[in-house]
Symmetry: D2
Subunit: 277 residues, 4 copies
């Protein structure tokens, strides 16, 4: 079984030596080891995937002892991630995930798809996934979000994936899933925050459009960016044409972000990400 070791600590001379020596002495096989030192904050990041038997808890303790105070360390078996997907009406990102999942190209278990409209029910059910309709109508935002929280709670998901979920989540909601909600926004952030980014892009007359996948935080479209993709457009594109052309970009950006997440490759550093690939 593969294990993934993630370390995030103040940088210090000898960290790689100490950590790799412990792994070596315990006869573990390193499959992949990646490090990054952020010079601005003097922070060391490491992702190490290894195979081998051994007392994992003991190894974890040994490594911990070698790290600076306040270091963050996780060491877990590599496992399939549990995911809840939120959607609204648009299908393309959801379809993409359902198909990749159906053919075992994404190492996730989709616990359910929750949507505030019903038009995607038929699609979701085709793939044997539970579709849950939670309408936002005739209730407060708080009530709407509470229903979602209540439903997702039982799955204890590793990630909530907003596959074109078009409602803005409150701080209260977000704090239940810190750095666990992955959104796809249909612009190259920070351009065109908020509603109708393709309309905004069209009005501005830009020559590239893009998509951004990011973790959701308190501030709208301001969370740590995981993946961005762009494509060229020109004056012949209406806002609607941009929207159509942008779909593939959105699917690819979200799929990339999701792959990094389920592979335990993303560290959040302030409002940025360090992605060890």
């Amino acid at each position: 079984m593969n294990h993934v070791l993630l370390i995030n600590s103040r940088d210090q001379k000898g960290l790689i030596s100490k950590i790799s020596t412990i792994l070596y002495q315990n006869d573990l096989n390193i499959v992949e080891m990646k490090e990054h030192v952020d010079r601005a904050s003097d922070t060391f990041y490491m992702r190490c995937e290894f195979t081998g038997d051994g007392n994992i808890e003991a190894i974890k303790d040994k490594i911990k002892k070698e790290l600076p105070a306040n270091a963050q360390l996780t060491l877990n078996p590599k496992k399939k991630k549990d995911v809840v997907i939120l959607a609204t009406k648009e299908h393309h990102c959801l379809s993409d995930i359902l198909i990749r999942h159906y053919f075992s190209e994404l190492d996730i278990e989709i616990k359910c798809v929750i949507a505030n409209h019903t038009n995607l029910k038929e699609l979701v059910n085709k793939f044997g996934i539970e579709f849950v309709h939670i309408s936002h109508e005739n209730k407060t935002k708080e009530a709407f979000e509470q229903e979602i929280l209540d439903y997702t709670k039982k799955f204890n998901p590793d990630y909530l994936v907003l596959a074109k979920f078009m409602r803005i989540l409150s701080s209260n909601f977000v704090k239940h899933y810190p750095n666990k909600i992955i959104n796809i926004h249909h612009s190259f952030l920070p351009a065109f925050i908020g509603a109708n980014p393709y309309r905004q892009a069209y009005e501005r007359g830009i020559k590239i459009i893009g998509a951004t996948s990011h973790f959701v935080t308190d501030e709208l479209d301001q969370g740590p960016i995981i993946s961005q993709k762009t494509i060229q457009v020109d004056h012949s594109f209406s806002a609607e044409d941009m929207k159509k052309a942008g779909r593939d970009t959105e699917r690819l950006a979200l799929a990339e972000a999701l792959n990094h997440a389920i592979d335990d490759r993303i560290f959040v550093m302030g409002n940025k990400t360090v992605i060890l690939t």
Copy 2:
């Protein structure tokens, strides 16, 4: 000699028929003809390049009579454009233009390079181009700009190219050269307007950086966009690394914009461009 016909008018049935028939009846050879109809504003754009002898003024009049009221029409010999370049300290966009010009890859005549610092003088002079130092120090912005205006006036340039000119031009300056000042901004606008866009990009933690070439208007970095380019970056890029990596993007975006401009391919439509390539 090639001529370029540019038309910008309210759309109307039969425009292509009428215009192309006049050209045909005058035995002109169409080298390239491109049209675009903007549906939102119901506007017709045409660029037609042709060869052939004939009374150009008479042809122009005939076409004009067939167009809706308020149509804009120009019909001129295709000619080398006169350009004045403004720079500050960074060389890469300027170098790129100088080299392309030196090897006749840009159909322009560079009348002079004006800079508010002197470090690029040696480079410019290598290519036999006049370098003019106009400092912004110890004078008002008005006085600084007036010096530039006075110097450029005598050349009556077709375009002013801001090849990393790092001073913000006033409305007063801009109104002397409407849609004739081409700037390169080191971000994918509208993200990161204003100073230090790479620093802003770094702080935001984005995964793509870009460059935008646009016409300069009254509002900072808000003019009609001509060309945009992006490249991927990641967490390992410092703001300085982004700046270095962005240089090629800037050079390519500005070169593309300049090529469109000198080839008479750009129409300005409100705050957008229609580029008939």
Copy 3:
């Protein structure tokens, strides 16, 4: 109802004038008109989409009279295209088409999916599309192909789409569908013709991989190219990693080619395509 006029003829002065005048005189509304003149072969290509009532046959005759001898002209109502898809075992291109079709993003009617294996049956049936298993085993290539021909014949499809159909079609098969069989090859042709292009790419140590969608002709992977896409890879990619990474490239190249085809935008010029977008 929209009509699409396609013309392919020797170039001649006045063609645009004559054609557009006939359309104008018949009070037709041009939605989009694109022309290209290939200088090397002196050939004129035009695609014109228009709306309006009128005697289409009469208009067609009038235009034909104005064209040079041997000109090719079609003028048909714009219509949904009938498509038969051929597949083998890989799902990604097929899934992509099924999903786009299901959500009405591709203006096609999928008559059936024929595959020489059965693993995709379940997927295809989910979308209410007929899945036909025609095995290539225990029979000659001729017999195998004849079965496919017999089955497709009744649908009289506009296009056969090879969505990762891994059998090489004989000249005899191809001649039944000239310029109507669209293939996706998993390399940037003409590099890596034939079997296992990702393996070939890996062995050669290339830094980009690609996909090519093209019309199928007699010669393996030599037909007119419609669309190509590439992405960057590096030394860390195994042949299998390239295969995975290439899937999105393949999907996008095939989807683009298919969109051009169903929109009647592709002319075949010798072994090349002219695509009027």
Copy 4:
């Protein structure tokens, strides 16, 4: 002073631990450390850049002792590379290098530019670089190459850069500079090997063109690939248009390759490269 440690050996458990521990015990500061294990050949690659005082020779010996037999190891001060450039008539790659060098963006010393034509002399001399004309006319290939070898020998260059040098070098020449001759070929290899790749690309009707920078080996255009870039083209591009459009691609691919080379980031593995960035 920075040192660069390069290791290339059979893979073995504990290598990172052993190497990093030696560096740590000698109180060296690791600036950047990158490893790659090629699973197919079971080979370990490492590039480690560090600062610090110490007995470099002693450290090198200690590390060597820990490595498997036949391991290759170099440990040298990071230094400016000496480069001789070969050119023919085209300027764009040469210009690019001259300009980057002039503004200290490439950490190289250009010892001279050798060309078999004279049209680039004026450009080269502008930058204070020696231009050497060695004609290929009226002499055997052997004699021509011997002249170049004789001239370059005295500089003992780290790299020979073929900046659009259009003569094919013999095996005899190449063996003097194994993995030290960097070429730029104007196609995405392995497509369009040999002469006139843009003409070949045009004839084939491709929708992307590219450029490849690679080490030169005995076999024409078959050496280890360092960098590749592509751009989209369409049916409107003549072979000449492709050539023009391809220039920027060539410049960028060569500049990237050169940057990797002068930064000691490239390992040659059989006929491939491992580039530790």
